[in-house]
Symmetry: C2
Subunit: 318 residues, 2 copies
């Protein structure tokens, strides 16, 4: 393939990015996908073994990793797609995409950067959130947690799932949530409450993570009583939500909300000519894999129309 | 199940209606689906054997009928769903749904009525479009077409697919299109052009269908030259697009465009309290099965929030 100008440069190799790529390729568009992290996005990193219950087509559910492997294989096997593991630094007007290593030119650009776990920004977090020093944003290598004292922070499904996922492995688990109830599947909250190995502290916030070389203890604040307490733990899992990946398009001029989510029309077009956005980075998009996949299908059609300009372009939008 | 009040009454049993039902049921909502025609919608009637190339999750493609069977089976096997084959006459405010036989009450109503083939409205059409008199809107029972002279009307993929589908069965095929080129997959148009059994007439319109008891001939008009001609045929396939099923909600007050497509927000809510719309009936929705399935997933979540009112309702919309 000629590297000079791509029909489509897709920034992000999660569900929405890869399904966009596969559908563009089925229309014989010359497609480049760039991913700086892990192919497959959040299901591949944060919850590979979790069963996705709400992807229509797989009534018995399908694991996140199985589903994203379909996209990865589909893209790899396609002669119209090149996948490159390069981190995108900047997307500029006119279809210029700069990575750490290269500069690419696309007739169209698709932003599929999605979200990543949010940091808490508390003292100690940055010191211990790398190289297995004890702070994690999700549970990946479960064996690391064996026989450790674990603090899970968060009140959503991710936090509750993490606590339940570790219940038979960890020495003891404490889960704290700043509100007075969980925002997670009732049956899972119930399972947590029944477990003798999980301590639940509501109205509780994490103030600080302490230790010399690794995590040793945490300072917890009860936000009702103002009481603080020290809890000795070995590992902390911060499951406190997601935030959009926005760094690479801050100067591009795409319209976003104040948190960085991109505003598109129903055809996945942004306000910038030739720039589309798909998946979790899109404002108001419901964050489900099926929605990202649908974005990919729609965007690819509109990209095809934008590039090839068939006489019927836009007819489907009526 | 108690028939008095349903959590959800879904009008229409195609992809969007059934996936909405399955996902509502997975949230244990008491769900009723009403379908007056064929379960599975257009893929089940118009193109059962056609491979759906753009449903992410099935990289080798999946036939329309296989895909809709998944929804049908999923709904049938679910204890929270009742499927009834009843034609809906009217949806009224307050969640009242009237069929030919019954009246149902839902806390929410989902309009998933989709589209159906458009009629041409020309002389002779209404006389022959029933009971195998020779006018069809799509090809179902291919064996009927064996050794017959067939006229296909239309310029889109449905028309081109119909002509190709019949090429080895029919005695001879004529395809006419009112414009000067087809709006269909290039490779299929090329295959048609190569076929010795298909005659292509562009800039040509169907004016009238004639016959005594069955179709015998058609009057064609060349819209460039004004020339008319009589073509003897046995069967006519009118593949001239789709129109929305709107009869049952004209008085409900849901906002639509001037053709009847329903305007929703990205969470599939209409302007009428408690009334949602999903699938091809939604204005601006790209008409793909994957989009209908995504609508179902999103709507079910919003229906759950609307009915159960958990404290986190609406948080995903930020």
């Amino acid at each position: 393939m000629d590297d000079d100008v791509w029909d489509v440069v897709i920034v992000g190799g999660g569900t929405a990015g890869l399904t966009t790529a596969i559908m563009c390729a089925s229309r014989k568009l010359k497609t480049l996908v760039l991913e700086g992290g892990v192919w497959g996005g959040l299901p591949a990193t944060m919850y590979p073994s979790k069963v996705i219950p709400n992807y229509p087509g797989f009534p018995e559910g399908i694991s996140g990793i199985e589903l994203v492997r379909k996209w990865i294989r589909g893209a790899r096997d396609n002669p119209h797609i090149i996948m490159k593991r390069e981190r995108v630094l900047k997307i500029e007007k006119g279809g210029v995409v700069k990575t750490e290593e290269n500069e690419y030119h696309g007739k169209t650009v698709v932003i599929a950067t999605g979200t990543r776990p949010r940091e808490l920004g508390i003292p100690g977090e940055a010191k211990f959130n790398r190289k297995d020093k004890g702070v994690y944003y999700y549970v990946t290598h479960r064996e690391k947690f064996i026989d450790n004292r674990v603090l899970v922070v968060g009140g959503g499904d991710t936090a509750v799932d993490a606590a339940l996922d570790l219940v038979d492995l960890a020495k003891e688990i404490t889960i704290i949530h700043r509100k007075d109830r969980f925002r997670a599947l009732d049956e899972n909250v119930h399972r947590m409450e029944q477990s003798s190995n999980i301590t639940i502290l509501l109205n509780t916030e994490l103030e600080e993570i302490k230790g010399t070389d690794k995590v040793e203890e945490v300072i917890l604040l009860n936000n009702k009583t103002g009481e603080k307490k020290v809890l000795p733990v070995d590992m902390v899992v911060l499951a406190v939500g997601l935030k959009p990946h926005t760094e690479m398009f801050t100067e591009l001029g795409v319209e976003t909300d104040d948190r960085g989510y991109i505003i598109t029309d129903r055809m996945q077009r942004t306000n910038v000519e030739g720039v589309f956005a798909v998946g979790d980075i899109v404002k108001g998009a419901f964050r489900l894999l099926i929605v990202g996949a649908a974005h990919g299908a729609v965007a690819s059609q509109k990209i095809y129309e934008y590039i090839r300009k068939p006489y019927w372009a836009g007819e489907d939008e009526k």
